[in-house]
Symmetry: C2
Subunit: 343 residues, 2 copies
Amino acid sequence: MTEFVGVGNMVRWVAATGVEAAVAGIAGYVREDFCRWQSFHKTPRTASHTPFGVIELMPTSDSVTYAFKYVNGHPSNPARGFQTVTAFGALADVSNGYPVFLAEMTLLTALRTAAVSAVAAAALARPDSRRLALIGAGSQAEFQALAMRHALGIDRVTAWDTDPAALVKLARNLGPLGFDVTLAGSGREAVRGADVVTTCTADKALATVLPDAWVEPGMHVNAIGGDCPGKTELDPAILRRAGVFVEYTPQTRVEGEIQALGPDFPVTELWEVLTGRRPGRTSAGQVTVFDSVGFAVEDFSALRYLRDAVRGTPWVERIDLVAEPEDPKDLFGMVTAPSPIGA
Amino acid sequence: MTEFVGVGNMVRWVAATGVEAAVAGIAGYVREDFCRWQSFHKTPRTASHTPFGVIELMPTSDSVTYAFKYVNGHPSNPARGFQTVTAFGALADVSNGYPVFLAEMTLLTALRTAAVSAVAAAALARPDSRRLALIGAGSQAEFQALAMRHALGIDRVTAWDTDPAALVKLARNLGPLGFDVTLAGSGREAVRGADVVTTCTADKALATVLPDAWVEPGMHVNAIGGDCPGKTELDPAILRRAGVFVEYTPQTRVEGEIQALGPDFPVTELWEVLTGRRPGRTSAGQVTVFDSVGFAVEDFSALRYLRDAVRGTPWVERIDLVAEPEDPKDLFGMVTAPSPIGA
């Protein structure tokens, strides 16, 4: 039997654990896995693009465990009552290929995306950062705020979104958590004076939600929403004057903000900074950009953390995903033996 | 909620339907989907190879439905009490990216592999074929026998396997189904005088389970087991003198029997034969080879058939794989609302 964490159990686990603690826990596993980057079999994700959106499969493995995630991105979904992003994924045993753990990953992806932002910001933002600007107040926004509090101690947030209802929702959710939230009248107003700017918008377009003129010396830009071909958020001029950090270069050159630039545009992979192999921020005045697109190793880390966290709790069920014939060469016997028919 | 067919329900559905009827039903959907080949977004599968075996993801989609399968192949599994191949897969709605159907596919893959062999044999073997030789009496063997009876009316089977226990199992399973089964003392003996030869062995090696000298004029060779780099079954000399038919050329050149030959080695895709675009068998004396590796469109067809077949029956459950927050932009609200904690 395969372990399974469905939506209901995921909600119960997160509610019992607390979002900030869950993000912190996943961030720890992400950091650990990024620090053994060479252990992973890495490949750009497989994407199926349609006029409606994108559906992707994201596999990776080390020598012991294989992981993959199914994830979609459909910007017009919320207008029809659906979420932009849903996901699920699995862990399998490399030695025999059996799937051992299946989980909803809509919520888990929200947690892991925030966890990765936290890992990057802790390594790249100025340690004295005190204010976060959020461009985009959708599904990921609150998770980002908690991630930055975990990484940098930030509790001041200014936010902007073209959808006023999303801003109201953000203030309603963050207020009780001890954040000082300001709803800005424009993107420019939200960004002015901020230390960390997180862009997290859903529009599938070569957009510029952050013009170069708004970016001040020393800012850390955490660019989340530009994550597939034809979908960017930053003015390319920002990239040309910043230190640019990515997850996995071959994938980011296709999907990230740097898709607008040439194949030789210099970038640093985050794992290189975390392991001390290459420098991160080089001065207090430098602009740093984390051009985040989401990479399979992060989902590996998140699934691994979840599996460890729910072990032995009531939040994990078992489902019969793998046939187990008595004789492994007699699969046919399973469907012709009289006993299972009425079972 | 996502529809789910687990192993228990799959066994009950197949037992109630009958293996031959299930293979025939899937074969109908495979033929239908192959005849609209251009409708599909096709890509070679993503494979993760280790010394133990391979784990693959096989996605495809048309404009309405997306499908993918997770499948492993671990030749040393049976010796440790595990199956060589296990699988599961899902269908999703292209318009919003939501997964709508999840199923075990260990049994379903066995059925669909046989169904594809049936579709190919009906198009390529001599219509007067009367005897099937099976090289390999493992998990797929009985399904192959039933597929050839469906496609060609064959009810005589000669079989060979290096594992005597597998041969005994095959005879035990096929006898009651009305087959005239002969257990051969060698591969050569099994193949002599046969009309269709199915090779279906698991060893991950550049093996020759079928030497050229054994292949007689007019034979149809259904080559199933050579399906990943470094894993073949046929003497390449057979391919050079036969008409060679494949599923999806870019994948088969990497994974199939033709991996041993050059990139320009001439092949015909099965859909071209089914649609009358190119000829199949050109004479009664021609040797035809179906170099089958398994392609994502076939799993799409099998999942689509299963979903239609179990609709409204007790063999389909529902699992909570997709989070459905009341406000699609308020995922955070799902994990902080007090109500779900005790639910």
